[in-house]
Symmetry: C2
Subunit: 256 residues, 2 copies
């Protein structure tokens, strides 16, 4: 039986921490990986500071099957991801000639100078494996179980679609939902019983804020696991508990 | 001279990692804290698993002046934040009688039973200091330098506005921006020189994706620091470097 694989996401960039830019990558990474049976178990956001990136990479790569980083791979002084990944692995950050040639050819064609700063984009840690996609000129790359991607969402998506083709596939995570007009406190005891009796699924309970676009019910219960029969059975139990409490409820496909 | 204080944010909840719900709290927390001179230096998102929460809390509280958690404080089986914070500090998770009485009074008034499950919402670690706000019934709380808040954005905001009144104020972080129609590679060398000559500010360089709502220029440079004179001087230097390269540019108030 295939096991569920685990991943961590490391979002790199001061701007994500200051509230000036809202991350747009995590959701896409999580749903793309889930489709392949890889579950994001932890996410960290760190600033453009080498020690912080090194610490996070080294903690996460030991703990999870895969680590995915975004950001810090451009040409400016605050783009220090490749230097930091190299430091985390104790190797040098070196020029990758095929990438260098690709970028140079592209800029030459446009009559743009390939500055020393821009050449930094052709660097990656010694031993890195470049992962070329059909649509993006600059490849993401892999060092051991760490995958390095751009932060700009459009480019990140192209890199990720090439990367996922190279990954092992875990057992697919499926989910269904029960929506109900109930307060969590009323159903919490029943819910805990159902969870205890069904250890192979995870039941999450999410109260909906006023104006939620997800559901017009007051709470969404999400049941997640790898066996659809079991998930559906658990949804029926939760639905039954809601009906016993005489509240409006329905079982739904998962929005995820 | 006041120093800039540091904070970490710990977002707790499976749903934030699976991509099923997008975090709406980090941006608000970061901007609210920045106005008080407290800078978010790291963010982690962890699932509803006690060991993971304990590890994160213990790592972050030693490293930063303040830690702010969101989520996992409701009445259901997956709401384990208070248990986990208690475990992180090696104390018991105990009933807080004033909170218990508040919730009971509220539910009695509505004719709703105060179930054993709902009573979990009246628990907090031994020694926790409840922080009551003008608008929210259930208080956030503090244990040492760790502040615990709800995950529902509307409630989190009420808790945070009460909490920030109790915090030490650091030196305020200010920022200004330069927007320019340039490729990062062209200006990277000049930018690095400017950064090296002005160590008291942080210069970030953010290429704008197609369809960016932030700027119709190709790159936004954000200059951050505590002294406005210095920030404005650095912005002028960056603007000057852009003009030298014969590209369209402008200095702007920061959107942050």
């Amino acid at each position: 039986m295939k096991k569920t694989l685990t991943a961590a996401v490391l979002l790199i960039g001061d701007e994500l921490l200051s509230g000036s830019i809202r991350d747009e990558n995590l959701g896409h990474i999580a749903t793309t990986l889930e489709q392949r049976g890889i579950r994001v178990r932890e996410t960290r956001i760190v600033p453009d500071i080498e020690d912080d990136i090194v610490d996070a990479v080294n903690a996460l790569r030991k703990r999870y099957d895969y680590v995915f980083t975004t950001g810090g791979v451009g040409p400016t002084h605050d783009d220090i991801t490749s230097d930091s990944i190299a430091a985390a692995f104790g190797v040098k950050n070196i020029i990758q000639q095929p990438v260098f040639d690709l970028i140079k050819g592209y800029l030459d064609g446009k009559g743009i100078e390939f500055t020393a700063a821009a050449q930094r984009m052709a660097f990656a840690p010694e031993g890195a494996e470049m992962i070329y996609g059909a649509n993006s000129m600059i490849p993401g790359y892999r060092v051991d179980n760490v995958f390095v991607m751009a932060g700009v969402p459009r480019i990140m998506k192209m890199m990720l679609s090439a990367i996922v083709e190279t990954l092992q596939i875990g057992s697919t995570i499926l989910s269904r939902e029960v929506h109900a007009d109930i307060s969590e406190g009323e159903i919490a005891a029943a819910l805990e019983e159902i969870q205890t009796a069904n250890q192979n699924v995870d039941i999450g309970s999410y109260p909906q804020d006023t104006g939620s676009t997800r559901s017009d019910y007051r709470v969404v219960f999400v049941v997640r696991g790898t066996e659809l029969d079991e998930i559906e059975q658990v949804c029926k139990s939760i639905y039954g508990a809601c009906i016993d409490l005489k509240v409006r409820a329905q079982i739904a496909e998962s929005a995820e």
